[in-house]
Amino acid sequence: MAVENLGAKSGPLVSVLIPSYNRSEYLHTALASVVRQDYSNIEIIVIRDGGDPIDGVVRHFNDPRIIFIDRDDNRGKGFTLNEGLARAAGKYICYLDNDDLYYRHHVCTLVNALENETDCLVAYTDLYRTYCRIEYDGTREVLSKVVEVSRDFDRFVMLYFNHALHVSLMHRRDLVEKIGPYNEQLNVLIDWDLTRKLCFFTDFYHVNEVTGEYYSPVGESDRVSVRRRKDANDYLRNVLRIRTTRPAKPWPKINDVSIICVGRKLNQQIAGTLASIWRHTFYPYKVYLPLSQADLARLDVGMPNVATVAVEAGASPSECVDAALAGCEGEYTVVVPDGFEIREFWLEDSLYGLIESPGRREGFELEDSTDKLWAVVLETDDLRDARRRFPRASVRESLNAAGIKVRRVQPAEIPFQFDQLLCQSETAGRDGNWAQAGLMLEDIAGRYGNELWMKYRAAEAYFKAGEFDKACELVRQINGKKPTVDSLLLEARLKRREKNFRPAIVLLEEAERMLEGKELVWT
């Protein structure tokens, strides 16, 4: 089905959820941007979560596709979105905050992608972050429109933190049955909670096109989520709650990890190790804790995803592992002694190599592992095989005897290569080595995707380095495909440098049109 045909009523129904709490002065624009979509088979569920009255704004549109839930009490965004999901009947769901907006082709682009271009059950586009100044009368003076992140889907990153904007997202409604509702206990990062859970069940399809805007008032933001982030402890509690969420299995896209935490007995050290695992592990996991009955009786685990396993008092470490291993659900198992240093990426740095090269009968000794505090991650089947064949040997000896190679991870095998290189290029830029930064960014574009985003940044770096020909070549490629305000401005500057004022004017006028958003002015 072509994009043009999707405007017809015959396309699948899409439910657009618009939660609204205060900021009602912007709702009109937001709602208008949905009502005027090129794609018409939509239902628009506006949910007032207390705050400013908005019935007048909603009534103004007199559109039968609008379902209005008008509630006086403020129950939070999670509750509100769940209310909307419960009413939604569309095959697909998408979201819009009451101060953001879609371009006319937003819904059509995403439906077309999900229906025709991919087997993914989730798709997302790019959005402009629109920095604006709030005038005395409440109107927004646009200062800039920037695509700050245009990132191809990366599950590992998504587990660590969000990289797909909620407003840019469309997903199948039936996924909600698998991922469960929004977590109403969260008061921040609700978006990421959803995207993280979604990536247990599907890949995401990235449509490299700007289809809307989200607003950022300069200076002090009035967004609830920004205000709430300022409480660091509360923020961390939310992060940990999200990272420890395990949707109901089966998980078609994620292999579970079982962490067997081996300690002689219940003491402060093992409690500290458990707390550190909780704090520093972002990959989905469940901890198995083998302890004697006496210790289990006095155990008070204050963290989620811990399963206790009863062992004989004085059981050896390998007996503890064997007892826990019998119940491990994960496709991967980590064996870690209490007292092992748990820091950020302690597990994921080694686990990533295992995930990327499955079935090689190979394990990875964790980076901070020593002979005294030896820790390993490997496929659970390999560990079971080794223990079955060599039950009397220590875990390490049994793996060796079973021919399972255990090695350290190589630098090229650790996750977040893209992010690390990006970080290095930024450092090079900060040090004034813009030419080097440009080279690095071009290399990243070639090897790690995110092509247009990286090419733009490379062009910008070359411009700062005075390598104008290189900058020009790259920015022309970008503007030939998906121009943005920034890329048009950069090419115009290059033209102006060559004293080609007329072509520069054409580019700058186009940039100004984008900034003014004349096509976005709805009545």
Partner: protein
């Protein structure tokens, strides 16, 4: 919107529209579209109320149109917003020069060159006003500084040589004019002046004998 850190500062991101309008204003001004340039500069000034550049642009556009009072006001606003704006002082100098107020013009060109010895417009303006006023010591200094930075600039070399002649520094003028002619053997003005200088030097030598 909860997103992974993008490493871009807010400050860096809030000037984009201002920059588009300022660049657009400069481009329109360069092709002589004064009204459109003015529209862009005015909008840019609203978006960047603390920035001097849009007012410099407005001053230049007014100057192009012969609106000297408007130009002066715009350049003065630019100076107030950025006391180190060499372009604003150059603008004020040009306004004064248009009004034949050479003293004021000379002072403003000097202020401009104190801030930016590389400003060729100011340098040539200073040269012109110096000629009108018959005072060359300071302009010689700035021309020498400029030539240290741009050793092959024939027009400045010729201007400096002319001033050396006026100051009676014929030997220095001779060297400079020979350099000009090495760079451009077809420079008739330089050849004529060199002939004059050589004649003068010969006269001095004869007088010395």
């Amino acid at each position: 919107m909860d997103m992974i850190h993008s490493n871009i500062s807010e400050q860096e991101n809030t000037t984009q529209r201002y920059e588009v309008l300022r660049e657009l204003g400069d481009c329109y001004a360069s092709v002589g579209s004064c009204e459109q340039a003015q529209r862009c500069y005015e909008k840019a000034a609203l978006l960047g109320p603390d920035e001097a550049d849009p007012y410099v642009g407005l001053g230049v556009v007014a100057l192009e149109q012969g609106l000297l009072d408007d130009a002066e006001i715009a350049f003065r606003v630019a100076c107030r917003l950025d006391s180190a704006s060499s372009k604003a002082y150059a603008g004020l100098a040009m306004v004064a020069q248009e009004r034949s107020d050479y003293k004021q013009s000379f002072d403003m060109y000097l202020r401009c060159l104190e801030l930016d010895t590389d400003n060729l417009t100011a340098l040539l303006g200073l040269f012109q006003t110096s000629c009108k006023m018959g005072s060359f010591a300071q302009v010689i200094h700035y021309l020498e500084v400029y030539l240290d930075m741009h050793p092959g600039d024939g027009s400045v070399m010729f201007s400096l040589a002319a001033l050396y002649v006026k100051e009676g520094r014929l030997a220095e003028a001779e060297t400079l004019l020979r350099d000009v002619l090495t760079l451009n053997p077809d420079n008739v003005d330089a050849a004529d002046l060199l002939e004059e200088v050589e004649h003068g030097l010969a006269g001095q030598r004869q007088a010395g004998e």
